[in-house]
């Protein structure tokens, strides 16, 4: 069984093609991706026929268009993020609508690696007698669940390929294999597709600068896609100036400044990172409406989505942060120990070389432009492995020229100290007083 025709991450198509024709194909793909958020079913119906005389040609053209777009995405990070988001959504749709059962298994093997995927029957055969008793129970559970789609089937993927499913125990783990029904793997499958696409985009960089004609076309398309690469308005506009602390990224702790600038650059953050930044922006005084506007304006994947539509869909998550939806809980910013294990802390999650680069550039303070000496940064980075909160504390003086006597145990603690030294005021609310207590305890 071969991969489905619509699957774009196949061996490179025949590139012996007129450059202008190629450009046309890329442009068709762009239009298709732009239409997708508005009416995904319509896009799939119109563009991905099941029966057609020229079916091969149609899909070959789509793959060629997608291939050129990868080259374009390699030149611009925001464009790359937009392409990954859009192609990811299209993949999800096509996988659902245009893939037969056999093809689904081939897609699994292609994205997770054939050595990491096993059919359930084969897996059952490999397990020993004693373990099979439990598998029989699982099998029974699978078949007895009411309302299960007829197209659903059991499949096994190696645990290293689906960490999210392992974390959330979404499958049965046996001897390193996550056994579950195909539907529950879909989120991980989409993520694997997006990761592979990102790798392909990185590889595509090597192809630039070889052929002048192709480079010119790439540049042309990139310019035409400028609207995807720009944010609609600048966040630090007069609207917020001097009013709220969120317009002063110089008081943000390193974790938040990293996420903030990463989102500025790419327009895309993963779920936990979005939550972390969202909680923080809320606690330093950003209103729910401001935050809705902020995410709407900066994200790359909602270009054709109206603000009303955005409020209805993604807006739910943002209102949830403020305790206006769901369980109606007013969430706090997670403390550093939680961030280190479940969210994003640069001292824990960044590669040391990237971390040093990031720390040496991160001097947004308005009062002075400091350049921390590299040797000092190396010392901090070497300590970060043992105690990230200590590393954070030791980094503080390089930004604000003030020594802290307490470890940084909470992002708002950093923001409070920083706002003090930057001459900005942060309101003393409950969360801050709890941070004080924590910091004192820590001391």
């Amino acid at each position: 069984m071969s991969l489905p025709d619509w699957f774009i991450l196949q061996s490179p198509p025949d590139l012996d093609i007129d450059v202008n024709q190629w450009k046309q194909l890329a442009w068709i793909r762009v239009k298709l991706l732009e239409q997708l958020p508005q009416n995904p079913s319509q896009v799939v119906r119109d563009h991905f026929p099941i029966y057609d005389d020229a079916l091969n040609q149609i899909y070959n053209d789509y793959r060629l268009g997608a291939y050129l777009l990868r080259l374009v995405a390699a030149t611009n990070r925001r464009l790359e993020a937009w392409l990954i988001e859009s192609e990811g959504d299209l993949f999800e749709r096509l996988y659902f609508d245009r893939t037969s059962l056999d093809q689904k298994q081939v897609v699994f093997k292609n994205l997770f690696g054939s050595e990491n995927v096993m059919e359930y029957e084969e897996f059952k055969y490999k397990m020993d007698e004693k373990r099979n008793e439990n598998l029989a129970e699982l099998y029974h559970q699978f078949h007895s669940t009411r309302g299960r789609a007829a197209s659903d089937f059991l499949i096994c993927v190696h645990f290293s390929q689906v960490p999210w499913m392992v974390s959330n125990r979404r499958g049965y783990l046996r001897k390193g294999w996550v056994v579950s029904n195909e539907v529950s793997f879909r989120g991980s499958l989409k993520k694997a597709f997006e990761n592979r696409l990102q790798e392909e985009i990185e590889k595509a960089q090597d192809l630039l600068g070889i052929n002048e004609d192709i480079d010119q076309v790439v540049q042309e398309i990139e310019q035409n896609l400028a609207k995807h690469t720009q944010v609609r308005s600048q966040f630090s506009s007069a609207e917020f100036e001097g009013k709220d602390l969120q317009s002063h990224p110089e008081i943000f702790p390193p974790c938040m400044i990293y996420l903030f600038s990463e989102f500025e650059k790419t327009g895309r953050l993963i779920h936990t990172h979005r939550l972390q930044l969202g909680f923080f922006l809320k606690k330093i005084g950003m209103s729910v409406d401001d935050q809705l506007h902020y995410w709407y304006e900066k994200s790359v994947d909602n270009l054709n989505v109206s603000y009303a539509e955005f409020q209805r869909t993604a807006g739910y998550q943002i209102r949830h942060l403020y305790g206006l939806e769901g369980g109606k809980k007013d969430y706090d910013v997670p403390k550093c120990s939680t961030i280190a294990t479940s969210y994003f802390c640069p001292f824990v999650h960044l590669d040391p070389a990237i971390l040093i680069n990031f720390l040496s550039k991160n001097h947004l303070t308005q009062k002075k432009s400091l350049t921390p000496p590299k040797s000092q940064l190396e010392k901090i980075v070497s300590r970060s492995s043992r105690d990230p909160t200590l590393a954070c504390k030791e980094y503080f003086p390089f930004i604000y020229k003030r020594i802290l006597y307490r470890k940084i145990v909470h992002p708002l603690q950093w923001a409070r100290y920083a706002s003090k030294f930057e001459g900005l005021m942060i309101e003393q609310d409950e969360s801050n007083s709890s941070i004080n207590n924590e910091a004192e305890k820590n001391q």
């Binding site: 290293s160 960490p163 974390s167 049965y172 001897k175 390193g176 824990v348 590669d351 070389a353 043992r386």
Partner: protein, 327 residues
């Protein structure tokens, strides 16, 4: 022992007793020269970014410098040194390690033993570590299919579980975190920890956790513990009598009976909360972490971070471990 005597004891240990072959069973010597090592002196000075050409040069270093603490880290594409520190090198791999330390249990140890103060360790509270080893070892083997797991005494108040399979060596941070999440049954800080919704634990794993925890609980239970949980005096006596009758062997009937009684007084989660494994997450997910060198000496206690015998692991008593500083 004064400092000079301690140094002599360390030198004697590293020159005569240090088991380099035991170390070879845990860390792969084929990439020895590109592995990072770290050391701490008596004054608390800490050095890392050190590598050795071969095991012999490591032993020479240990004998010559007699560090109070010796650590081993990840493997890189080139030998780490002061000129080429680890952040300039490409990470190649690090064994998956689980750190179980009694520090993590400080808030619940009062329900298990009578130890006063954090530094004290007794055979009873060591049962918490034994239980964690039992559950983690079994889960890694059965659920994750890992085969080579070695448990090492940390030299003070805990154990380190080294997974030396090739797969564990190359796992990235997200994959390591997923294993920790899978093994973690409690959420939140120690004082406010709550047990995860039981239905979210998959059948096999849930059975393993509950079965093992209650078995350990019953093996170590005291009258005081039962009364504290809310059992009446007569029920407590009855349970203890049954346990006495079975001479420490906990059979399925007794376990089921006890579970029903606990469910009646709604203390099921309370017992789980006190006994379930608590792993130091940071140690497992940090890819560049330096960990105590197996078979080296813990500078504070003088005890050897020795490899525990798998057949005898549950009878290990940290208090009985000899210290090279005590003679």
């Amino acid at each position: 022992m004064n400092q000079a005597q301690q140094r002599t004891a360390l030198r004697d240990y590293y020159s005569a007793t240090f088991d380099i072959d035991g170390l070879a069973a845990i860390i792969n010597f084929s990439n020895f020269s590109t592995r990072e090592f770290g050391f701490a002196t008596l004054g608390g000075k800490f050095f890392r970014n050190i590598s050795f050409e071969n095991p012999k040069t490591l032993i020479d270093f240990l004998v010559d410098r007699t560090p109070y603490h010796a650590y081993v880290g990840a493997v890189y594409n080139e030998p780490p040194s002061r000129e080429t520190p680890i952040h300039t090198l490409e990470w190649v791999g690090h064994e998956l390690v689980f750190d179980i330390d009694l520090n993590e249990y400080d808030t619940v140890r009062q329900f298990v033993c009578d130890c006063q103060g954090a530094d004290q360790v007794c055979q009873r509270c060591w049962q918490l570590v034994n239980l964690a080893v039992h559950i983690i070892d079994e889960t890694l083997r059965l659920d994750f299919g890992m085969k080579d797991i070695t448990w090492i005494f940390s030299g003070r108040r805990g154990v380190h579980g080294w997974v030396t399979d090739d797969l564990g060596f190359s796992l990235d941070q997200e994959q390591r975190m997923s294993i920790i999440d899978y093994l973690s049954v409690i959420h939140g800080e120690a004082e406010k920890a709550r047990i995860q919704d039981r239905m979210k634990l998959k059948y096999d794993f849930r059975y393993r956790i509950e079965h093992t925890v209650f078995k350990y609980f019953l093996k170590n239970v005291r009258r005081k513990d039962l009364i504290d949980l809310g059992f009446s005096s007569s029920v407590a006596s009855n349970i203890l009598k049954q346990l006495d009758h079975q001479e420490g062997q906990i059979d399925e009937n007794l376990l089921r009976n006890f579970n029903l009684r606990v469910a009646k007084i709604n203390k099921y989660d309370e017992i789980l909360r006190r006994w379930v494994p608590r792993i130091d997450h940071k140690v497992s997910i940090d890819l560049r972490r330096l960990l105590r060198l197996p078979n080296s000496i813990h500078g504070k206690t003088g005890k050897t971070a020795r490899i525990l015998d798998p057949s005898n692991i549950f009878f290990f008593n940290p208090d009985e471990e000899p210290s090279i500083f005590s003679s």
